[in-house]
């Protein structure tokens, strides 16, 4: 469960105040304690914090807290002041990715990097991926999948996992990694279809400083991050041909170049690829390289659609609810008529759809028993309809093309500031409102100075650094490590 709260364990009151101020300034909520015994762990879940910042504190009470924290395999990372970093790494035998050093005095860039990493970890958890023991189910097809996993895990063989969306291809890949000799090394997943193609190469292979506009620092790619471990290339069927050549080369030669580099890097990575597409069709159409296909398809595993293993449904539901409870995300029960309705559904979104449904029911009907009538209509179309729900996209087309194409002039930004300064009859929150006005003026200044912060600061008669701080506070900095001077991005859809 995501949370923008950071736990700070620091006995030195002045330093604790300082850390709190910095965190709050960049819009994180700080939860400060002097030592870990002040944390009522019975009332918390490990995921209650985005990260845990550790300064000077009593180690005895920290031991208990860290032991509790680590009960959750995907606990938030520790950010430890440099002086204590080595000590804590050794004392708790922590992975470097779970224990990040923090220089004192705090450097904004470093802290921000650490928090961004923590946020990405949290997003990964948020995606709903569970590091479980592998695919669930007693059906013959699932037993076969588990057998294949056991067979191939111990070898460095390249595996190609195929199956419809949501059938758990990543679950299979993780299960292989967990059972392999590489299990102590990273498992890195990349969804090749979800990354804009122009960013994919640098995301996979990394880049050198100055390789392209915006490459302010050198950066490791996912191949390097997965070194010694497993790289999961999901939706490989969506990868552009130009990238397929490069992947082929890595598979053949175990080497690649960072974007902008003139020397090759070696990598020791096991590749597991997956796709919901029929790659043989793609080869005929000319969108997938045949030579890459044969390199990947060394050991194929097919994940069956849920509708072909409806007998697994009750077991899967129990499993999902148990996971939900263990993670402290609430609980729910399904009445027999609801389970029956679900058994007759065709599950185009497969296990992922089921998992999202269970999570949704636990939020909307916490600790209740849900009957068929309370399920979304598509799961039980035979029941009398409740609320008539029409999709936006199904709505009757209205003759609005003219309105759309005769584009309205862009709104006058000044007007919005004026209307902001009117007291509505019901009253308002003065602090929030004043901040909204400040934010409106800052955006206008940036717009009229072409996004250049220094010029905008002049228009506002404020120091550039003050404006940069305010931009951070309002979440208007681009995440490029600079002062957010880059040009404004355009809307992008997938």
């Amino acid at each position: 469960m995501p949370e923008s709260r950071v736990l700070v364990i620091e006995a030195d009151a002045a330093r604790a105040d300082n850390l709190r101020a910095i965190l709050e300034f960049v819009d994180f909520r700080a939860n400060v304690v002097e030592d870990a015994s002040q944390i009522a762990i019975a009332e918390h879940r490990q995921q209650d914090w985005l990260a845990v910042l550790v300064g000077d504190t009593d180690l005895a009470s920290l031991d208990e807290f860290i032991a509790w924290l680590r009960r959750d395999r995907r606990h938030p990372p520790l950010i430890v002041v440099q002086a204590k970093h080595e000590l804590l790494m050794q004392r708790y035998d922590l992975d470097p990715s779970a224990c990040l050093p923090l220089d004192m005095p705090v450097r904004y860039g470093q802290l921000s990097d650490h928090l961004k990493r923590a946020s990405l970890l949290q997003m990964e958890r948020d995606l709903g991926a569970r590091p479980g023991s592998g695919p669930t189910g007693n059906s013959a097809v699932m037993r076969r999948v588990r057998k294949l996993i056991e067979q191939v895990a111990a070898f460095d063989t390249t595996v190609l996992v195929t199956g419809e969306s949501g059938t758990g291809k990543e679950v299979v890949a993780r299960a292989i990694h967990e059972r392999s000799a590489r299990r102590e090394h990273p498992f890195v997943a990349v969804n090749c279809g979800a990354i804009p193609s122009e960013l994919l190469e640098s995301e996979l292979f990394g880049h050198e400083k100055g390789a392209f506009t915006g490459a302010i620092t050198a950066r490791r790619g996912r191949f390097e991050m997965a070194d010694g471990g497993t790289l999961f290339l999901d939706e490989i069927g969506d990868m552009p041909l130009s990238m397929q050549v490069k992947i082929l080369r890595v598979l053949q030669e175990r080497s690649f170049e960072r974007v902008g580099a003139n020397r090759s890097s070696h990598c020791d990575v096991r590749i597991i690829a997956a796709t919901h597409r029929n790659l043989e069709d793609a080869i005929i159409k000319g969108t997938f390289r045949e030579d890459l296909y044969y390199r990947l398809n060394v050991f194929p595993i097919e994940t069956p659609p849920l509708r072909e293993r409806a007998e697994d449904l009750p077991l899967l539901i129990d499993d999902l609810i148990r996971n939900q409870e263990q993670a402290g995300h609430g609980s729910v029960r399904l009445a027999p008529d609801a389970v029956n309705a679900l058994r007759h559904y065709h599950w185009p979104g497969n296990v992922r759809e089921l998992s999202n449904l269970i999570e949704r029911l636990a939020v909307l009907h916490p600790h209740a028993v849900v009957d068929a009538a309370s399920l979304p209509r598509r799961y039980c179309p035979d029941l009398p309809a409740g609320d008539a729900v029409t999709s936006f996209r199904d709505a009757a087309p209205a003759p609005i093309a003219a309105d759309v194409t005769t584009a309205h002039a862009q709104p006058d930004p000044a007007a919005s500031t004026t209307t902001l300064a009117v007291l509505p009859p019901e009253g308002l929150n003065l602090k929030d409102h004043i901040e909204a006005i400040e934010l409106a003026l800052i955006r206008q200044a940036l717009a009229s100075s072409g996004g250049v912060v220094a010029h905008a600061a002049k228009l506002l008669n404020t120091r550039r650094t003050t404006l940069v701080e305010k931009l951070r506070k309002y979440g208007l900095t681009r995440d490029d490590g600079e002062d957010g001077e880059a040009a404004v991005g355009a809307a992008v859809a997938f």
Partner: protein, 127 residues
């Protein structure tokens, strides 16, 4: 005319106040509600049945990604656009994976929103 019934989700209230004012000048958009975390968004999406949700990523209780997954599980789910100040490949990857239709930069919020809204309206007329 058809208006796009829009739900705004963000835990930063000053930003929501401003967003309402910025969007008020577009006749195509009708803001029908606000939620301050993902859990509220899931409930309000069910209750209000908006056409469009513009959602922040990092929020207390439940963030934008989880909320997007759960809202997409409802009948006739709304179009969901994530508004974030983090804009890099990793964030776009996560956002695309949960089924959100778009990703916009908070810094060019109203301009990005209107582009998406007009595209949605055009989709309806072309349908």
């Amino acid at each position: 005319m058809t208006k796009v019934r829009t739900l705004l989700v963000d835990d930063n209230r000053p930003f929501l106040i401003l967003a309402r004012h910025l969007l008020a000048s577009f006749v195509e958009i009708e803001v029908i509600g606000e939620a301050y975390d993902g859990e509220q968004a899931v409930r309000l999406a069910e209750e209000l049945k908006p056409n469009l949700i513009i959602m922040d990523l990092a929020m207390p209780n439940m963030g934008g990604l989880q909320a997007t997954r759960l809202i997409k599980a409802q009948d006739a789910p709304p179009v969901i656009v994530i508004a974030s100040h983090y804009d890099d490949a990793a964030h776009r990857e996560f956002v695309a994976q949960v089924g959100a239709e778009g990703f916009i930069n908070k810094r060019s919020y109203e301009n990005d929103v209107i582009v998406i809204v007009r595209r949605l309206l055009k989709e309806i007329t072309d349908a």
